[in-house]
Symmetry: C2
Subunit: 338 residues, 2 copies
Amino acid sequence: MNKINIKYLAKELNLAISTVSRALRDSHEISAATKAKVFALAKELNYEPNPNASGLRGQKTKMIAVVIPDMVNDFFSLVISGIEKITQSKGYHILLYFTHGDHELEVSFIKTLANGRVDGVLLSMSSENNNRHHLGELEKKGIPLVMFDRVCDTLQHVVKVTTDNYESAVIATRHLIDAGCKKIAYLQVHKNISVGKIRMKGYLDALQQHSSQASPLVLESANDNEETFQFLQQMLIKEKPDGIFASIEKLAVICYRVCEKIRLKIPEDIKVISFSNLQTASLLNPSLTTITQPAFDIGETAANELFQLINRKDKSVAVERNVVLKSRLIKGRSTARN
Amino acid sequence: MNKINIKYLAKELNLAISTVSRALRDSHEISAATKAKVFALAKELNYEPNPNASGLRGQKTKMIAVVIPDMVNDFFSLVISGIEKITQSKGYHILLYFTHGDHELEVSFIKTLANGRVDGVLLSMSSENNNRHHLGELEKKGIPLVMFDRVCDTLQHVVKVTTDNYESAVIATRHLIDAGCKKIAYLQVHKNISVGKIRMKGYLDALQQHSSQASPLVLESANDNEETFQFLQQMLIKEKPDGIFASIEKLAVICYRVCEKIRLKIPEDIKVISFSNLQTASLLNPSLTTITQPAFDIGETAANELFQLINRKDKSVAVERNVVLKSRLIKGRSTARN
DNA sequence: CGAATTCACGGAAACGTTTCCGTAAATATT
DNA sequence: AATATTTACGGAAACGTTTCCGTGAATTCG
């Protein structure tokens, strides 16, 4: 359990510490012969530079933070896979944080991250979108930030990677209308998630422009799944919608369960469409029509944007940019015409 | 963008660096009055200690690495959630690595990790289980290791967290036998994953002891999903099994697709059971009977075991321990009696 | 051939913490 | 009252790396 560091290599080779360091970094100031000797010994002893020392000296950590609500659905798993593809190719490391939808946790994570622990941050915000003061701390410390999916719509001077939520919601709603739905309900999560707001606007606009439906029908989900189940059941019985547009897949799943319980047949009695990255959507009973976000692409894109920020020369000017990726409508039997 | 570090705090308060450091760590050597002043300023300026400096000095990083094959199924997502619960409560950070089933990548990850980047490693091995020399490097450097799920069965002196794969496989096979299956096929991944081997042994033993089936029927999946689809289709047509035991959920999903294509009715014509953590298993058509591993528990347990190793006093003696958690059989319609 | 330049390397400072050691003043002990 | 101990803090070393600066020797140039 001997400490193998540059000092040890230097002593072993009768060289100065600085020489060994330069040799390892392939500096032109070092002769080929010396480099060869250093490389050989480093390889033999399995030498790896101490990241804390490098980080401390160079103010570079080769690490980025990924801060997401959680991983209960396939979306964020895919995003992370996309991020990992990029970080892996750049020799970077991923630090992973879950906010569990808790804004306070998010603030505390960002605070600890704002001190040289990472070279950059990828963030998908926690539910409560009220306060964004903590993000200024990152900018103040010169740590690049890229937001994705759940972005902060009121925050300027930041790079955001999103999908065409509005257009997709319009398409989804029109898909239900075209399938013959006369009364379409929208299942929404918390009101203060920007993604949810934008999707709902798409639903509302499409309804107004392309349907004769008298008024929109919106159900906001509860914190607890069982509670949501009850609410949805009441709504389906009372309002009798013939189309359901779920803003997230969890709500579609709950909807399937409610329909099974109260003997509503999908798609005969009621049609269901949902934003979803569920890999088994096509195997559900019936197969679920989905609006599927390019989750892996989002991860790749966000990571690439972040590395552009990390590597740029002039860090004084703030960068603002909105990258919007397209979602896809994948038809299943849940919205088949009667 | 001023650097806020201990030196700055010290100058601002007319104190020595050492005094400020001790105050921040709530040392008994510092008077209450001084502590209060230091805390106040630190809070006001949002001071956070530089992790590289702390890590370099104290040889503690407050980080652990999680090395897993990938995140294409819900299992590892849940494991990570379990791990995160523990790290979060201990103020630790998670570094995440995907090996993508590539042994070389695993070796290279472990190598970089063996140099003070992390305080401990949680590992679920990549597919190829042949070489385990790289893990010795961790032990040599005194970095604790806990393996989970895909463990190395030939490696001694290490903590392993697994599930009762053998017993579960016996139960799964017996479940099919009890449901009336006379010819049960086992769908297996790569031969050299210990988990797969153990599960297959359970299948073989259960078959021998409780079934009149002449000989076992095993199909090893190809690397490519479509290829596996073709193989399985051929096998179902040629051998006509009436029961399928899938060792991982991906194979069960492929099996569903094949059955749909060649018009085999589940469970009337053929019954299907699978190891799976699919959250939508009960919503599939038909609902899938699963052996479900306590993935979240595995994460929690592995993380707790790791922290025990990290915090123990005497690091000279190697610890060996096998924690085995129980899986659950969750009945669906895919194995209903005819 | 003397001067300027390049080459190849050594010494030392710096990154921000933590902790060992030292020390005046204050308090306690005999 | 003289000594011992505690209190509260300062100075400096150490963690391992990178890089600035310096310097003899070798090479190039006029």
